[in-house]
């Protein structure tokens, strides 16, 4: 689905504008219609009053005479006004010829001197009609009223008018209103579209910058001061993300360049030895010496490859830890079993004093952790030195009487490939990965590892088991 922010905004704004406009138009239309009807009613009432003056009663005879002007208005098919003169009993006395054979319905008659209005709809046209109820006294008896009771006659005048003209005006008005609405809508849509574009321009700027950021150019950044305030947070978030990415990327690059160096060097050694060995015929002792060196290099290489593979499996999250209940004592015994031949060779005594605890962890991982640390404690020890393993509950301490680690190296020993100078130049066969593997394995299982050391005195590694 192709979601366009602009399209959605334009659409919803248009609907809103349309609704507002519609309501407004409705009120306007109703208001205007009322005013128009009022005006019509007024003229109808005026006419009715005027016509009522034409009604005369003399000696019981009712007469009704239209003037010439009135005839033009009420007579003939083109006339727009109609009237019916009735007695208030309903009997029709006179009907304007313009009505033909039609007549107005007789609904409730208002009180004398009062008016009422109604509208009739017939085949598409509207008519407004006024009911005017009035009374006339006999002219003759008027003068004799002193003697005789005056005879009163009640009349009902129904004056009507076609509303064609008015509805034409209203129709035209509605037409204008709709045209105006469409124009306004188009204008609004255009305006909104422009506005959206304007507000998106900052985002475009950001995305342009983001596009510039690539594998080769990870240091490109969005300048948060140069985008709109509202987008500053986005810019900062993007920059932060790329900072973190860049760091991870650079760490990986550094790791690979170290790996490349650490792998190529022993391979160069092996290649050089074989090439030189084969250059000419040599003594048996020489061949044995060469093979020993090759063996050493190959052993180193295979240790290195194993460690690197383990680390990259962990980096990719492919190292699955199998959590189970472990016994500290069992792990330490297994580790000692692996490590004791090396210790014996260097004449190093290993003592342990463990009050067993059980904890949850991966067995192989913990074996690796303890072997790596014990390996260091032996490798970086003095001839006839000692290693002590003890614990207080979940805190396990491995202490040695070795060469110690200089203060400046101490913060770095958990870094990949980091080796203190003394251990580097001495050929200890280390890879610089043992502690970083231990560190990552233990952190992954929510334990902890710390190291304390003093040059010439020894080193203390503290492992906090996961609980």
């Amino acid at each position: 689905m192709n979601r366009s922010l602009r399209a959605r905004l334009v659409f919803s704004f248009s609907i809103l504008v349309l609704m507002v406009f519609f309501l407004f138009a409705l009120f306007l239309y109703l208001g205007i219609e009322r005013i128009v009807i009022q005006r019509v009613d007024e003229t109808l009432f005026d006419k009715a009053r005027y016509l009522s003056t034409l009604v005369k009663v003399e000696e019981g005879r009712i007469s009704f005479t239209l003037s010439k002007i009135d005839i033009g208005e009420f007579i003939g098919p083109a006339a727009k006004s109609y009237f019916i003169l009735r007695l208030d009993t309903g009997e029709i006395l006179y009907k304007s010829p313009s009505l033909g054979n039609k007549e107005f319905p007789l609904n409730q008659i208002p009180g004398v001197g009062k008016v009422s209005y109604f509208t009739i709809y017939e085949n598409g046209s509207k008519k407004r009609v006024v009911n005017y109820h009035f009374a006339k006294e006999d002219e003759l008896f008027k003068d004799l009223s002193f003697f005789l009771p005056v005879k009163k006659y009640g009349f009902l005048l129904q004056v009507g008018r076609d509303l064609r003209l008015e509805s034409d005006i209203i129709k035209r008005f509605i037409f204008y209103l709709i045209t105006l609405a469409i124009l306004a809508l188009l204008f609004m849509a255009l305006l909104i579209s422009k506005m959206v574009e304007l507000s998106l321009s900052s985002i475009k700027k950001i995305s342009y910058k983001v596009k510039l950021i690539s594998e080769k150019n990870l240091s490109e950044r969005v300048d948060p001061e140069r985008v709109d305030v509202e987008l500053k947070e986005l810019a900062i978030a993007i920059n932060d993300t790329f900072d973190r990415l860049k760091m991870a990327f650079e760490r990986q690059k550094e790791f690979i360049s170290y790996v490349s160096h650490e792998l190529r060097t022993p391979i160069s050694g092996i290649k050089l030895i074989t090439e030189i060995a084969l250059r000419k015929k040599r003594s048996q002792e020489d061949y044995i010496r060469y093979l020993r060196d090759i063996e050493k290099s190959v052993n180193h290489l295979s240790r290195l490859v194993n460690s690197i593979l383990l680390l990259s499996r962990m980096d990719m999250g492919r190292e699955h830890l199998k959590m189970e209940e472990l016994s500290l004592l069992d792990i330490i015994r297994d580790a000692l079993h692996i490590i004791s031949p090396i210790a014996e060779e260097k004449n190093i005594k290993i003592e342990y004093n463990i009050e067993n605890v059980r904890f949850i962890g991966d067995k192989d991982a913990f074996l690796e952790i303890f072997v790596n640390i014990l390996d260091n404690a032996i490798k970086y020890n003095k001839e006839k030195g000692w290693v002590k393993i003890s614990n207080k509950g979940f805190e396990v301490v491995i202490e040695d009487s070795g060469i110690g680690i200089p203060e400046k190296d101490l913060p770095h020993v958990f870094e990949r490939f980091y080796r203190a100078e003394a251990s580097r130049s001495r050929k200890t066969g280390g890879t610089g990965l043992g502690l970083s593997i231990a560190y990552e394995l233990i952190k992954r299982q929510h334990g902890d590892i710390k190291i304390e050391s003093r040059v010439g005195e020894g080193t203390k590694v503290i492992i906090i088991l996961p609980q």
Binding site: H261, E262, T265, I267, S268, I273, I276, R279, D293
Partner: protein, 220 residues
């Protein structure tokens, strides 16, 4: 010709030394950057083979500091990285050549010879003086077109004098370039070798400059 190998991998460094000695070079090894820099600035090496990733002082720093001190010994960088970044950076910092690990020993030798030739201003691997012809690539010496076998020390002395021909070379200088640190030799050993060379080749080839040393003159 004397070579300094700065490489922290002991097996590689020691094997390089062994191979280069067999080729008639005098070789010293430094296993750390600090040692390497100290040795490079205190002895007149003809070539330095320099690893980049070193403990203490890395290869780039050594290069930079040497060039700062105007020590112009040709440097052959050993890199372990694929990227050309390091090569470019190395050459920028004053390296004369580079070779990527793992390398062919024969290629390394060819590059060392080329560096020595370039330093002495010779283009071709064949040097002719009087009726003597020296092929520095095959390390063979001919007199009037006939091959004369030389011991490696004899060859080393001849090569040093020939690459510096026209210049008086003292016995001490010869010793510094022919022997490494492990061997301490009395200076009359040089005289003995020079005499062998005169007998085997041409008695006018190497002249003695009394109280100073030896010289092979350039052909007119």
């Amino acid at each position: 010709m004397r070579i300094l190998v700065v490489e922290d991998d002991e097996i590689l460094a020691n094997m390089l030394k062994e191979g280069l000695i067999e080729e008639g070079y005098a070789v010293d090894v430094a296993y750390s950057g600090d040692d390497g820099f100290y040795m490079a600035e205190s002895m007149p090496y003809d070539v330095i083979i320099l690893d980049l990733m070193l403990p203490e002082m890395d290869g780039f720093t050594i290069l930079e500091k040497l060039r700062e001190k105007n020590i112009e010994t040709p440097v052959l960088v050993l890199t372990a990285k694929d990227g050309i970044d390091d090569k470019v950076k190395g050459l920028d910092k004053g390296a004369d050549d580079y070779i990527t690990k793992p390398f062919e020993f024969s290629e390394l030798l060819a590059r060392i010879r080329a560096l020595i030739r370039r330093a002495s201003g010779n283009r071709s691997p064949i040097i002719k003086v009087k009726n003597i012809e020296i092929n520095t690539a095959s390390r063979e010496v001919y007199k009037d077109g006939k091959r004369i076998p030389l011991s490696s020390k004899e060859y080393a002395i001849l090569l040093y004098l020939v690459t510096n021909r026209g210049k008086v070379v003292s016995r001490e200088e010869l010793m510094e370039h022919i022997y490494d640190w492990e061997k301490s030799i009395e200076s009359n050993v040089i005289d003995v070798y020079v005499n062998f060379l005169r007998k085997k080749l041409n008695k006018d080839l190497i002249e003695t400059v009394r109280g100073v040393g030896y010289i092979i003159r350039k052909d007119e």
